[in-house]
């Protein structure tokens, strides 16, 4: 299953890339850390790695390394507000539990 962006998320990413003045696209990934095991990686990409898998959604190029894809398969990246705070949200069908702060999760 591919990785997708919602329209709102894609619009934001485009804007941020434009504001930054450079960048090939967006990296989504997963790292081991945090209180319940895994944490998301969300970065700009200036140079792709040879092993990266590349998806395109809503006009944004999304780079994912093969190891992370296992945990991210089918994820939809959304953008939204919670009170005054705004940012990106991973709608990840693989997640079974997450820690209180929500920044790390387990699968």
């Amino acid at each position: 299953m591919p990785i997708t962006l919602t329209e709102v998320a894609a619009e934001r990413v485009q804007r941020f890339l434009k504001g930054r003045g450079k960048g090939e696209g967006l990296r989504l990934g997963v790292r081991s850390t945090g209180c319940s095991g895994k944490a998301y990686v969300l970065e700009f990409v200036d140079q792709a790695n040879p092993e990266d898998l590349v998806f395109e959604s809503q006009g944004v190029r999304v780079f994912v390394d093969p190891k992370s894809l296992v945990y991210l398969d089918g994820t939809e990246l959304d953008y939204g507000k919670e009170g005054l705070n705004e940012g990106f949200r991973f709608n990840n069908p693989n997640v079974k539990g997450q820690c209180g702060c929500g920044e790390s999760f387990s699968v």
């Binding site: 945090g34 700009f44 009170g83 005054l84 999760f105």
Partner: protein
């Protein structure tokens, strides 16, 4: 779940350790806070969507103060307890305030240190405390928006601010529980916001006409380094003065000439400001004076006639900075305008005419300073490790000491790049003299009484020696924020003298401690928990820094030092896991002390590496 931001490549932060930083423009009329999210700097709005926080605080006898629009609305009905434009009072003495006092409707108490205290129904308040109340609102706004505690902030000050005014700003931040990474000059922040740091070598002018202060600065950019070449201005000139001029014009046209009360003055100033703002787009406005039934029409042409003398007053400093920087007009690459008053077409016109080119106006002149400060805060927080940007500032006014006969001996001339240090030797003039007093002043005049008094330093603990034999070497140091510190050593014996500071217009450390305690008692949230969280953030920051230093420079440790440092780190880690903020604070102080020698060696090693690095470059073709 948590909302995430996009990081720079390879910089996805470890959860719970993301460094949240913000830039604050603590303005005379309005204040703003901005932050960098996903690579873009933007100002943060309140829940109602307002980015500008009016710098107005209203005090009550029985509840916490309110800040912003709600307070402005009360300014007319409750003028004595509603404090506006407090930035004008920062670092000022009672005498300064009496000079500008006829526009200020407040009641003052004189404290024992010459710091003005405003009597309000919520108690006596110093300007530092009022500013801290504004900063607290901005801090809460940012922490709500970012979903975490701020690790540090960059606060902007007018380039023209003297030591006392800078110190007062830093004290206000401390009272509000903010760690200040750096006080940044407003023009430098504006240049950074425009991305002028990405340009090639060139020279810029920043013309900043805010609510209460005017500054003009010449900045030079060379290979990513910003230098403030010269700065001048008038710390009591701005949009407020235009409003006052318009208000006087309105009063002249009013029937009967009864002196207006404080509330009425406020009302007049408010309609004056509204009229001035509307005349940016409209050619004429009708002004209705409340309670009199009188209506007057102000055209843009009339407005221009009224304010031209004020705009004219800004051009003198413009000429002076060019001369100080040794520049002629064609050498200026860009002119940036900052401050709400530069929205006025007349101001832009005059600026374009003087500098011979239209100014840059793309970024909202109210927000541009906060945005630049946020970009710098992001760099200082360590979120952009390969940022090349280095901002070098200068001291705006000469520092000197009062000599016999009241003359000033200049120690550090204005426009010296900071940090800067200067040592001076003094000899005792009496047998067995064990103390010495030094009066430090700031300004360009010959007589100490014509300069601003900064502080009186008393050197104590000089060993008793015959007259003339006691030689004390006093080092005056100005840090990157433009703040002075003094240390002293007797040369014959090598004994360090104790330096006791009596700031002329500032608060002593004891007073700030007391205010901190009082403000905590008054706060409505769970203070203990907050203090604890703040100390934990500070502890984490230090533990991370020291751990990284140990990994990077293990070879620089002297025997036994590693054990001492690790022991202190262990103690701090243990204290951090408990719930006593005071214990954490003490453990931080201990770790800080035992790493001093190591820190010095690391820095010197860094410099030697840098020197060595250039050595290699030199022989490359």
């Amino acid at each position: 779940m948590a909302l995430l931001q996009i990081s720079e490549p390879g910089r996805s932060d470890v959860p719970h350790e993301r460094r949240l930083a913000a830039g604050i423009d603590l303005g005379t009329t309005n204040s703003l806070i901005a932050t960098v999210r996903s690579g873009i700097a933007e100002t943060l709005p309140d829940a109602a969507g307002n980015h500008l926080l009016p710098s107005v605080v209203r005090y009550f006898p029985d509840r916490p103060p309110v800040v912003g629009i709600e307070a402005i609305e009360a300014a007319v009905v409750d003028p004595l307890n509603t404090i506006a434009s407090v930035k004008r009072l920062m670092g000022r003495g009672i005498a300064d305030i009496q000079r500008i006092g006829n526009r200020l409707p407040y009641e003052f108490d004189e404290g024992d240190t010459g710091v003005p205290r405003i009597r309000t129904s919520g108690g006596v308040r110093t300007p530092v405390e009022v500013s801290a109340d504004i900063l607290r609102v901005l801090k809460d706004r940012a922490e709500a928006a970012l979903g975490g505690l701020l690790t540090g902030v960059v606060i902007t000050v007018p380039a023209y601010f003297d030591d006392a005014q800078r110190q007062a700003t830093k004290d206000a931040a401390r009272l509000a529980g903010l760690k200040v990474f750096r006080l940044l000059n407003e023009p430098t922040a504006a240049a950074v916001a425009y991305g002028l740091d990405r340009k090639t070598e060139s020279v810029f002018v920043v013309y900043d006409l805010g609510g209460g202060t005017f500054d003009v600065s010449v900045l030079r950019l060379t290979q990513g380094v910003f230098e403030v070449m010269a700065t001048a201005g008038d710390s009591a000139l701005g949009g407020d003065d235009m409003d006052a001029t318009i208000a006087r014009w309105l009063l002249e046209g009013r029937a009967g000439s009864v002196d207006p009360g404080p509330g009425e003055v406020r009302g007049l100033l408010r309609v004056a400001r509204q009229a001035r703002e509307r005349l940016t787009l409209e050619e004429a406005v009708e002004i209705r004076l409340e309670g009199t039934g009188v209506t007057r029409t102000l055209t843009r042409h009339e407005l221009n006639t009224l304010i031209d003398p004020l705009i004219e007053r800004t051009l003198g400093p413009c000429r002076r900075v060019l001369r100080d920087a040794g520049l002629v007009l064609p050498q200026i690459a860009e002119v940036v305008v900052v401050g709400g008053a530069t929205r006025m077409p007349r101001v832009r016109e005059k600026v374009a005419e003087f500098f011979g080119r239209p100014p840059l106006t793309d970024i909202d002149p109210d927000r541009v300073v906060a945005i630049g400060a946020a970009l710098q805060a992001d760099v200082l927080a360590g979120n952009k490790p390969d940022a090349e940007m280095l901002l070098l500032d200068v001291i705006p006014l000469s520092l000197g000491i009062e000599m016999m006969g009241g003359l000033v001996e200049r120690l550090i001339p204005r426009n010296s790049t900071i940090p800067v240090a200067k040592a001076q030797e003094f000899t005792t003039f009496k047998d067995g003299q064990v103390a010495m007093a030094i009066h430090v002043v700031q300004g360009e005049r010959e007589l100490a009484s014509d300069c601003r008094s900064l502080a009186r330093f008393e050197l104590r603990g000089i060993p008793p020696l015959p007259a003339g034999a006691g030689r004390v070497r006093v080092t005056f140091q100005v840090d990157a924020d433009g703040l002075l510190s003094v240390s002293a050593r007797e040369l014959t014996t090598g004994i360090e003298s104790q330096v006791v500071v009596k700031p002329s217009y500032g608060l002593t450390d004891d007073e700030i401690e007391r205010m901190l305690r009082e403000s905590l008692e008054f706060a409505h949230e769970d203070v203990a928990a907050r203090t604890l969280r703040e100390q934990q953030v500070a502890a984490d920051r230090l533990l991370q820094a020291v751990a990284a230093a140990l990994v990077a420079d293990l070879d620089l440790l002297v025997p036994g030092e590693r054990e001492t440092i690790e022991h202190a780190m262990g103690a701090l880690t243990q204290a951090r896991a408990q719930t006593d903020p005071e214990a954490i604070r003490k453990a931080i102080a201990v770790l800080d002390r035992v790493t001093q020698g190591f820190a010095a060696r690391r820095m010197d090693a860094g410099v030697r590496r840098a020197v060595a690095g250039r050595h290699v470059e030199e022989f490359e073709p």
